[in-house]
């Protein structure tokens, strides 16, 4: 494992990786008798691309849901920016600067791309209902500012041509991109991506990979992603956590993980007794 301490380090391609922003300590999550996550610990560094991989049912999405505050682990604690994070509602987590996308796209199908992206700015709207209703000073200023941010993200992800198109009419690959736009527009510190490339063809995967790298590079956003495509994970991420049956079986750089016997077994399939 990389041991760079809190000072961080610089990657081979010149990106600056900072200290630990979030740390999972001995997280255990149960649903009744089922143990979804069992005593897992790992950390996330500022500015890195951190992948979580593992076979189906390994608990990857549950892990992401724990980070985003959707599930509350029965045991263990989460340290965010040096302080223990109390149990929080998802909206509170979002206000802390953690945004996410979903494995099964969760957009408002009847609304346009622009409107969907604008909903991502909800946390930045402070004007009262009264202001909004009368398009009063603050509401107006905020709307302009929010629209500007939304347009910047639309430009960044190259979806200008579908700005006014209802999301329901879009193909799958573009919906994924719109979802990324909505997450991005909230200006997150940490971006959680749940299988951003599932069901895409090679070209779409390449596009999405480029966008993920660009987001990380341009805005310095820390990215935690779940992905099945090994090639993508190995190319994109700085460090990888490997899960199997709710347990962590590997953690390290892509090269280290690839050489890990337990990981190889999990992927090639070895009987569990």
């Amino acid at each position: 494992m990389l041991d760079a301490g809190q000072q961080g380090y610089t990657t081979a391609d010149g990106r600056r990786i900072g200290g630990v922003v979030m740390e999972m300590r001995n997280i255990t999550l149960r649903f009744g008798g089922v143990v979804a996550i069992k005593d897992i610990s790992f950390d996330i560094r500022e500015g890195e691309i951190r992948a979580i991989i593992g076979p189906n049912g390994a608990g990857k999405s549950s892990m992401l849901n724990v980070i985003s505050g959707f599930y509350h682990p029965q045991e263990g604690e989460m340290i965010y920016r040096g302080a223990r994070r109390p149990p929080m509602k998802p909206y509170q987590v979002a206000r802390q600067g953690i945004a996410r996308t979903f494995q099964n796209i969760a957009l408002f199908e009847g609304m346009t791309v622009l409107d969907n992206v604008m909903t991502g700015r909800l946390n930045h709207m402070k004007a009262s209902i009264l202001d909004q209703a009368f398009w009063w000073g603050r509401a107006q200023r905020e709307e302009v500012e929010n629209r500007k941010r939304a347009e910047e993200v639309i430009d960044f992800l190259e979806i200008q041509h579908i700005r006014k198109t209802p999301v329901g009419r879009l193909p799958y690959g573009l919906k994924k991109r719109v979802e990324l736009a909505r997450a991005l527009v909230s200006e997150p510190k940490i971006l959680l991506l749940d299988e951003p490339m599932a069901g895409m063809n090679v070209e779409e995967k390449e596009d999405m990979s480029r966008f993920i790298l660009d987001v990380n590079d341009e805005f310095g956003t820390t990215i935690v992603l779940i992905e099945h495509d090994m090639g993508v994970v190995m190319d994109l991420s700085d460090r990888v956590v490997v899960m199997d049956y709710g347990k962590k079986i590997g953690d390290g750089t892509p090269a280290e993980v690839r050489a890990n016997q337990e990981v190889i077994d999990a992927y090639l399939g070895v009987s569990h007794d």
Binding site: E151, H161, K164, D214
Partner: protein, 658 residues
């Protein structure tokens, strides 16, 4: 010189025109670009300030007089400014096709010895960096959109905004030099260098002087009475001479506003929002638009469909007449007005064509029905004929004299001459200076008196004085009895039928014309489905008697149309067959740009051609094919040969007698 009569009174360079526009239209929009969903605009005064900052920045970077500055990217105001800024410092802008691969770019950059390259975005920067080993003279790369470039080595790489900032900071030091350099520009100095794509051999750098660009822009702007309040949408490649003339030449001459779309994908939305008054598009664009309109109409409700059909039919009869100023009855006018209110007007608005005063198409032949469709809507669509070497304009159609089969009368200032073999020559103030570093080609194209060979064969129509282009000069031949043979003229007519994908006409040195025809699988397949015709393969569909009947009716219709032309009536197709395989670039039958390679087809299908001329009714043949994975194979078939009716041609009798 012959051009000196008026040339003294006009500004002598593009930067001089810019200065004039600032004085004359300073507060009027010169450029617009949609950015972040909003149309941003720059007045002539603001644009001039930006251009000056770039020019000063280029001076600070060390651009010398006569340097070539390559510009690569999609249409954006800043890239147009960069070209004018390069002119200001005495350098020559060289716009390149942005979709060119690195390999093609290498040749051009090497050939013009560009020391400076201005790129639109990371994609272009990457290509140039990739070429560094081959083109080591490149000293500085300037980019417009810095996205993804942060980690790059910036010792040779600069953001355009930084170049401008440095230029502004260095103004006190460099302003004098800039004024000197700009002052040294005159009509003879080079305005731009454009590389022709060149179907054969390496691209050639066409050097166009300020005289070429300014005199051509002046003449053509006056021809169509372009005004300072006109609007154009700049969406065609910047490396293409047409874009340079429209978006710089004519824009600077008349002072109209150039609008740049947000991205290539948003072109249609942006077109609608801007509603240009002056519009150019190649036939392909008009064709795609028409197809999308027709397909969307198919999905509309019955009432809308009926109204659309009713009023469009009426518009087709009346619209072109109204445009050409011919007399139209009161009732017909009223119906047209009504149709315009309900159908035509809204349709034009959807297409973004409500405000078009002057529209042009050129580049290749446009199907008459496509042309008529837009004319029927009341859009003043015209054709022009031009070349890079002529600074675009050779001939163009004046208002009220528009027909799909001619390319118009000589543009103002252009002289035309038809050579013995039918080749069209022209001479004009727009005639290029030379091919850069290629005296041999220059001499082969332009003679000592300034006449330029177009490589196209054509004739000037009696009575109207319109030029008609019939074919590439090298393909035009004579039939056995001495009549003119122009295969492409007939092939184009055949290809206007959606069912016919390709046609190859033979007849050079023969007593009659024959044709090999390829059906269009999509169109014919669709037709077959609707008519309950089952087929298992391309070959089976191509040989189906009802398909042959349909193709025969098309051929006969073309014959009727060709027979109306005294000069070319010999080119009617007497016999034809439908090929059992699609002509393919992989088999060497077409070029990569889908142009027919006559010689190769003649050799490959020699047995079929012999059969066409022998009077047989069918012919067995075997053809070698290359599969997509590169394997070679053979397909065999027995093809039916059909006779097509011809009109008023005595050669038929001769064949029958043989």
């Amino acid at each position: 010189m012959a051009h000196n009569d008026t040339s003294r009174d006009v500004p002598q360079s593009v930067p001089a025109l810019l200065a004039r526009n600032v004085a004359q239209f300073g507060g009027k929009p010169a450029y617009r670009e949609k950015e972040l969903g909003i149309w941003q605009s720059w007045t002539w005064a603001e644009a001039a300030e930006e251009i000056e900052a770039i020019a000063l920045g280029l001076l600070a970077l060390g651009v010398a007089r006569g340097d070539h500055v390559a510009v690569i990217g999609r249409n954006r105001p800043a890239l147009y400014w960069s070209m004018v800024a390069a002119q200001k410092v005495g350098a020559v802008p060289v716009p390149l096709y942005q979709d060119a691969v690195a390999e093609e770019m290498a040749y051009v950059l090497e050939h013009c010895f560009a020391r400076f390259v201005i790129c639109g975005d990371q994609e272009q920067v990457d290509k140039v960096i990739e070429l560094q080993d081959r083109v080591p003279q490149i000293e500085h790369i300037i980019y417009l959109d810095g996205r993804g470039l942060r980690k790059y080595d910036h010792s040779k790489l600069h953001a355009l905004a930084d170049v401008q900032a440095e230029g502004r900071a260095a103004r006190p030091r460099l302003e004098g030099e800039l004024v000197t350099r700009e002052g040294a520009l005159d009509f003879a100095s080079t305005c731009v260098m454009l590389y022709t794509s060149g179907t054969t051999g390496k691209p050639k750098g066409v050097v166009l002087s300020n005289r070429n660009i300014i005199m051509t822009s002046k003449a053509s702007s006056e021809f169509d009475r372009l005004r300072a309040d006109d609007e154009v949408l700049a969406y065609l490649p910047m490396a293409w001479v047409g874009d340079f003339i429209f978006s710089i030449g004519q824009a600077y001459w008349t002072g109209f506003c150039v609008n740049c779309p947000e991205s290539a994908d948003t072109m249609m939305t942006d077109l609608r929002e801007i509603g240009p008054t002056y519009f150019f598009a190649p036939p392909r664009v008009f064709e795609t638009l028409l197809t999308s309109v027709m397909i969307r109409m198919e999905d509309a409700g019955p009432l809308k469909r009926a109204m659309f059909a009713r009023f469009l039919d009426h518009a087709k009869a009346v619209g072109p007449k109204l445009l050409d100023g011919k007399p139209v009855g009161m009732v017909e006018r009223l119906i047209y007005w009504f149709g315009n209110l309900l159908i035509i007007g809204p349709l034009k608005n959807t297409l973004g064509m409500s405000r078009i005063r002057v529209g042009y198409t050129a580049g290749e032949a446009i199907g008459p029905e496509i042309f008529d469709f837009y004319r029927a809507l009341g859009i003043n669509l015209k054709q022009l004929y031009g070349q890079t070497e002529a600074s675009v304009f050779i001939t163009q159609q004046p208002d009220h004299e528009v027909r799909p089969d001619t390319v118009g009368i000589p543009s103002p200032g252009v002289e035309l001459r038809i050579a013995e073999n039918g080749e069209v020559f022209y001479r004009s103030p727009g005639v290029f200076v030379e091919y850069y570093k290629n005296a041999e080609s220059t001499a082969a194209t332009k003679d000592s008196e300034g006449w330029v060979a177009t490589g196209d064969a054509g004739f000037i129509e009696d009575g109207t004085g319109h030029l008609r282009i019939i074919d590439r000069a090298k393909d035009v031949g004579k039939m056995a009895d001495g009549r003119l043979f122009a295969p492409k003229y007939v092939e184009n007519k055949l290809k206007f039928f959606p069912n016919i994908l390709e046609a190859v006409v033979f007849g050079n040195g023969r007593n009659m014309c024959t044709a090999l025809i390829n059906i269009d699988l999509t169109a014919v397949g669709n037709w077959a489905e609707r008519n309950n015709i089952a087929y298992a393969s391309y070959q089976e569909l191509a040989g189906h008697p009802r398909v042959l009947d349909m193709i025969q009716s098309h051929v006969e219709e073309v014959n009727r149309s060709v027979s109306g032309d005294a000069m070319l009536s010999g080119c009617q197709v007497h016999r034809f067959l439908v090929l059992h395989k699609e002509l393919d670039a992989d088999d060497g039958e077409l070029t990569r740009t889908r142009k027919v390679r006559r010689r190769i087809i003649e050799e490959k299908f020699a047995d079929l051609i012999a059969a066409l001329y022998s009077g047989k009714t069918e012919q067995y043949t075997e053809t070698a094919v290359t599969y997509e994975d590169g394997r070679l194979g053979k397909i065999s078939a027995t093809l039916e040969i059909r006779d097509a009716a011809v009109v008023g041609d005595h050669a038929t009798g001769k064949v029958a007698a043989e």
